[in-house]
Symmetry: C2
Subunit: 216 residues, 2 copies
DNA sequence: TAAATTACCATACAAATGTAGGGTATTTAA
DNA sequence: TTAAATACCCTACATTTGTATGGTAATTTA
């Protein structure tokens, strides 16, 4: 049954199945409760619940959801980070000089949670100490909202030449300046049309887990 | 209908209604989906769903839940913090000298969410800058787990003489020392049996919302 | 080329679900 | 003291829900 040198990834979800999974996540995250078969069917224009039923079966077989038999709205997401942070960290970001590699791509199917909810925020783990003076430290998780327009002075996440950075954003006449709080790092200046620069989003929050850290 | 000089608080829920609301929150927070009438009835030993139905009506009339008519499991909590932080902040905590007042009590009906889930973590907003060097700042929200044994050097939340503090914890021979990172604040030394001292929990995480802050 | 998977359709059914209406006894408020 | 509100009970009903079964056409895999 299982193929040898090819491991099962998210890619093995078909387009339709992925759309349905997307809708599931959307509902569960957004409305709070999973939809019924009928609700899903209605959303996709299916005349029949059985269609959804079968898709659920396929998606479950591939391990992305779990059905609680007989229970109404008994669908659970499998790939979730259950505790405090509802979305997985999608990659590491250098707060200092651009060092760390951004994960494959922000919108591949490989990173489902983010690809699914571009309207929503997502998480990045910070590496490096260039934002020390903005009280963001290596290991912290920043919450990024990709749908806000950055204002001068705000901390943003951006991709620059295949690396990602978290820095303060300043828009000048013909350029964009990304400034570290830490004076050890020099500001990065980007001409506005610089192709490999892409603003990912605004950092709206920071989360730090203290449990792993050694006590002083 | 409405009384004059007395405003409607959580206290206006009857014991039974509060128990049901507790169960609702427990289920929604824990299992993820709201229970059905039947499930609630079974939990409380009611022979009939109608009983729960009527309690739901009463609780809704008092504004604690919202029923989505005809929708199965269509109960929503009203008093919730919807976004990132699933639990409300229950009070302010002085990171510096004990200044701020702890809310009425941790287990009154006034603070339902905490009273309800003592097993789980809860949130406190930090006021003061005594933990500046531990990278916790005024306005940050600390996540407190009340069910962990503190180890030396860990940051804990504690109640001391009607004030709450967030400090590093050190257990000595016959006393407990609560130390600020900020040298401006002197350590607080508590004899072990000091009655008005109560350890609330261990700070397991810090969350900071950046959106409100002014850009540098 | 044969077999499996995918993507829909339809029908049928028992159980679950929310709702409504009516009843009783006790407690609380006007 | 009278009227609400509370806290349960019961029966009844139309829908909703999950599930099962069977079918068709297109695509993918072996």
């Amino acid at each position: 049954m299982k193929k040898a040198g090819k491991l099962r990834t998210l890619r093995d979800l078909t387009k339709v199945q992925k759309d349905i999974l997307d809708f599931l996540i959307d509902q569960i995250k957004g409305k709070g409760i999973p939809p019924t078969l009928a609700e899903v069917a209605k959303h996709f224009g299916y005349r029949n619940r059985a269609t959804v039923q079968q898709h659920f079966g396929a998606i479950e077989k591939k391990g992305f959801i779990k059905k609680n038999p007989k229970l109404s709205r008994g669908i659970e997401l499998t790939l979730e980070d259950k505790f405090f942070v509802p979305k997985p960290v999608i990659g590491e970001v250098a707060a200092g000089n651009p060092l760390t590699i951004y994960p494959d791509a922000i919108d591949t199917i490989e990173l489902p949670t983010i690809a699914r909810m571009p309207k929503d925020s997502f998480l990045l783990r910070v590496k490096g100490d260039s934002l020390k003076d903005a009280y963001i430290f290596s290991g912290d998780i920043v919450i990024v909202n990709p749908n806000l327009e950055p204002k001068n002075g705000q901390i943003v996440a951006a991709v620059l030449d295949d690396a990602a950075v978290v820095k303060r954003f300043y828009k000048r006449k013909n350029e964009i300046e990304l400034v570290s709080e830490n004076p050890e790092y020099k500001p990065i200046v980007i001409e506005k049309k610089y192709p490999s620069f892409k603003l990912v989003g605004i950092v709206v929050g920071v989360y730090r887990n203290m449990e792993k850290k050694k006590a002083g």
